[in-house]
Structures are given as structure tokens and as C-alpha cells.
Amino acid sequence: MYRLLKIEFQKLLYSSSFWVILGLYIVLLAPIAFGFENILKSVSFDNGNHQQPSMSSLLLQGYSIFNFPEVWLNMAYLASWFKLLLAVLVVIYVTNDYSYKTLRQNIIDGMSKWEVVFAKELVILVLSFLAVILLILLTLILGNYQDNISIFSGSSIVLAYFFSLLLYLNFAYFLSSWLKKSGFVIGILFLYTLVIENLISFKLPENITRFFPMNLIDKMIPNPLGKLFGQNIDSDFSVLNIGFCVFYSLLFIALNYWMLKKGHAGKQ
């Protein structure tokens, strides 16, 4: 396993895209969080009618997106958008191995097909894990400590974040090894994430669509904005949802392996 990680991380650590994307992830997350905070504040206190403050501005008195325990969900939700960035990294990393034909050369040099699939899965696991660590660190640094509230209250959302990221990155991995061309894959991935799944779900009953990948992620890391309007927003990371994340991930891994077995590496 160490050998596989060493092989794959030499491909990653010396590529500029890895550092650019990881840098963006680290550097952008905090400023964007502050940006949101400011936007919310400016909206709520500038409704032009100071005699009769609006419902939302009342709710926002003393509210900050950085208050514990809400900060966990707020940060997880913002970080969840950054999964697109991490997915692009996975796409570049996997499709590089196809466009330079190094994946095929790795097999020729003596990697088994399972090792080829598994090595990349290890990278995805490490990336997801790193993203979670970063999320935890940022939240602890940025969070406003409250009396009587444990800073770890609500922190279990990071588990949901980890599994949803695992699902999403494995989806990107699968699309990359299937379609092989990075631009094409990124296009399809974004289209699916933002449009296609919604189109498919449009006419289908909710108890089916809730298990579609993007819906699943939305349920696990819901948009916290509704809280400002008094809605009850809760993350649903039931065993069933986490089970589905793992199931999808395993399915994508199995498909990747099956394609390699069928001689996918030999085709242009």
C-alpha cells in the first residue's frame, strides 16, 4: 500500500495543478466565508425601514455564521461547493495518466489492474481525509466561541462531509477513466452536478430521487440559509445515506476495474 501511494503521489506532488487547486481550496475558503458573513449582515440591516425591522433582520441580531454550533454546518456547506475544485484535481490527475498513456505503461511495467484502480482510490481517500482536516481546522480557527456550547457540538457534520466528498470524487474518478479527456469530463461532471440530475429527478418520486448522488449530498450537507428564515435545517446523515455513499463509491471502483479488465487501457 505504501508502494502504491508513493507511485501515485509522485505523479501528484510534482504537478502544478495539484498545488494550484489545493492552494485555492485553502486560500479561498476563509475569505469566502467572511464574504458571506458581510453580505448577510448588509442585507439584513439595510431594508430601509428601521421602525419596523424585518423578520430576517430580527433573527440576525447577534447572529454570525461563525457562531458555534452553526458554524460547523455553515463551513461544511461552503466547503461542499469546493468539492468541484477537488473533483477537477481528480479529473486532471486521472486523465493525465490516460493522455500520457502512463496508465498503460504502469501495467506493462508490472502493476496489476487491481493495483492501478486501488492506487488511485487511495489518493482519493487521502484527499478526502485532508479536506476534512482542513475543514475542522478552519472551523475551529474561525468559529466564535459561545458560552455553554461545546465547540464540538454539531461537529459530526464533518463525517457527512467526508462521505459525500468520497462519493463525489469517486464519481469524478469514474467519469475520468471512462471518458479519458479532461475537458470533456469536467464539462459532463459540472453539467451532471448542476443540471442533469435535476432534469432526471423532475418527474420521479422523491423516495427514489433522494438516493441520487447529488440529492444525497444535498441532504447530508443541506443549505443552511433557510435557518435565517426560521426553517428547521438538519443534516441527514443516517446510516442509510452513508451506506449509499459507500455503495456508490464501491460501484464506481468496480466499474473502473471492469473497464480495465475489458482492455480499456489499450484503446485510444
Binding site: R3, K6, I7, Q10, K11, Y14, S15, S16, N96, D97, Y100, K101, T102, R104, Q105, N106, I107, I108, D109, G110, M111, S112, K113, E115, K261, K262, G263, A265, G266
Partner: protein, 295 residues
């Protein structure tokens, strides 16, 4: 002789297109084995199958008389079609990845870089290399861990004369160390110059295989004619050294089993009472012979 590679009736079909049909090859240890055939004849498909990149439809193959596994592939240094490296990594970094895959210590990297004369350029990105250098780096990577077999697919394709000469020198250097070489090529003279054994493949079918000096001998031919052609024909049939007789207009063209002098031939017919009006030895050129085999 121990067999490095045996294939048994390998066949491959893409849809209705049969690209490989019952190809059975045998590669002996320490030979330089040429897989010769025109473009699109199935050479790369054959190599892809024995390297586990392309699944065959039917047939089997064995490396070193064993069922193929990824562990056995670590003892094979192979290049398929083009040199395949990550362009954004240095030559050395690319070789480190290969070494990690083959489980060869990094200390071997400097050795192979020196063999292929790229030691000075080892820190440079692969993208900055010329085609000849890329090809040499690929051979260097294939030599990591002192493999028992080196498998090269059109290694001189697209190179300038200097590049071609470098690669051929390298191949012979490696062969002299007792490493078996399998060389796929569409260039007849390359196979004839470098190889000890050859298999000729066309449209996915194996036409012939054996030693290069038997199959691509260049063949000694004679042209003869005499006033009495009937008598001449009879005498030719009785002559043991002649293996093949063909009539061409006013003369016979014959093939000899081994080289003998024209004087000796002349004497034989003179003793039979036949005076030759025409006797000429002729070297059959390789291209003609190749076309003869492949047509």
C-alpha cells in the same frame, strides 16, 4: 533451448474485423526475435496481448513457461508504440515511478541513464526531450532492474538517421549482455540487420517463423540456358545442389541449397555433354523475397 515466450493460437477480433488469427510464436532465450509485418498487420495487437493491455478473444500465452502474471511482467522491459511518460515530470522522476512499480532500487536509475546517454539531462522535463531522447529514455526505463526480456515496438520509427543508429547500437549492446530481445518492426532491413530470428505476420496471420539467415537469406540464384533446353532441364533435375527450378522465357532460374562456384557448375554440365550458352548468378534482393513471402 528454454523458451522465453510462447503464444498458442492468439486471436483478436474487433467487431467483425479479425485483426489477429491463430498466431503461435516461440521466442528462444538470448535470441533477437523480430516480429516483421507491414503497418496494420497485427504486430502491436500481439504485443498488447502478451503485455496484458489488450484481452485476446481466444488463445493463450506463457512467459518463461509460466502462466502470465503482473509479477512476471516486472522481469520484462517493454515499450508499446510510443515512449509513455508523464510530460510534466523530469526524466529521473519518471524513472523513479517505473522503479517503484518494478520494485527496483533507485540506485539502478543512474546506471540505465548512463547506458542510454541521458544522465546529463536527467533533471529536465520529459516534455522538453526530442523524439530520439524520448525513445532512449523509454529503453532506459525498460532496462531498469536488468530484465530478462526487452520488448520494443517500432523503436526507430520517426527517428533521424543518427537516432536510428543510436537505437540499433543500443539494441545490440543489450543483446550482448544475454538479454532476449523481441523487436516489432515494419522495416525489413532493420530486422535483417539486427535480429537472429524472425516471424513474418500479415493481416493478422503468421506466415513464417525461423532463423533470419534461413528465411531472409537473400538466396543464391542462377540463370542458365543452353541450346538443348530439354537436356538442360533433365540435368538440372538430377543436380543435388539445385532445390528449385523455374522456367523463364528462354532460360531457367534455379535456387541453390548452398553457394558453389560458377566454374563448378559449368564443369558439371560440360561433363553431361551440355554446353551452356548463358550462366549468371543472381542475388535475390530482400524486398523481392519479402514480397514473395507476404503475397
Amino acid at each position: 533451448m528454454a523458451k522465453v515466450l510462447t503464444t498458442n493460437k492468439l486471436s483478436k477480433r474487433y467487431g467483425t474485423l479479425q485483426v489477429l488469427k491463430d498466431v503461435s510464436l516461440e521466442v528462444e532465450q538470448s535470441s533477437i526475435f523480430g516480429l516483421l509485418g507491414p503497418n496494420g498487420s497485427g504486430k502491436t495487437t500481439t504485443l498488447g496481448i502478451i503485455l496484458d493491455i489488450i484481452p485476446q478473444n481466444t488463445g493463450t500465452y506463457k512467459w518463461f513457461d509460466q502462466e502470465p502474471t503482473n509479477k512476471l511482467r516486472k522481469k520484462i522491459g517493454a515499450i508499446l508504440e510510443t515512449p509513455n511518460f508523464l510530460g510534466y515530470l523530469s526524466a529521473e522522476r519518471n524513472l523513479k515511478i517505473s522503479a517503484d512499480i518494478k520494485e527496483v532500487p533507485y540506485s539502478d536509475i543512474d546506471r540505465v541513464l548512463k547506458i542510454v546517454d541521458l544522465f546529463e539531462r536527467r533533471k529536465d522535463k520529459f516534455n522538453t526531450f526530442s523524439l530520439g531522447m524520448k525513445q532512449r529514455l523509454a529503453i532506459g526505463a525498460a532496462l531498469l532492474g536488468k530484465p530478462e526480456v526487452l520488448l520494443l515496438d517500432e523503436p526507430t520509427n520517426g527517428l533521424d538517421p543518427q537516432g536510428i543508429a543510436d537505437i540499433r547500437k543500443l539494441i545490440l549492446l543489450v543483446a550482448n549482455q544475454g538479454i532476449t530481445i523481441i523487436l516489432a518492426s515494419h522495416m525489413l532491413d532493420e530486422v535483417q540487420k539486427v535480429c537472429t530470428h524472425v516471424a513474418i505476420i500479415k493481416k493478422g496471420t503468421l506466415l513464417v517463423q525461423g532463423k533470419v539467415n534461413e528465411i531472409l537469406s537473400g538466396g543464391d540464384m542462377l540463370e542458365l540456358s543452353a541450346d538443348n533446353m530439354e537436356e538442360l532441364h533433365k540435368a538440372l533435375k538430377e543436380y543435388a545442389v539445385i532445390v528449385d527450378v523455374k522456367k523463364e522465357l528462354d532460360k531457367y532460374v534455379v535456387k541453390l541449397s548452398h553457394k558453389i562456384s560458377n566454374a563448378e557448375i559449368n564443369k558439371y554440365f560440360f561433363n553431361k555433354g551440355i554446353a551452356l550458352t548463358h550462366l549468371a548468378s543472381k542475388k535475390k534482393n530482400l524486398e523481392m523475397q519479402f514480397l514473395e513471402i507476404t503475397n
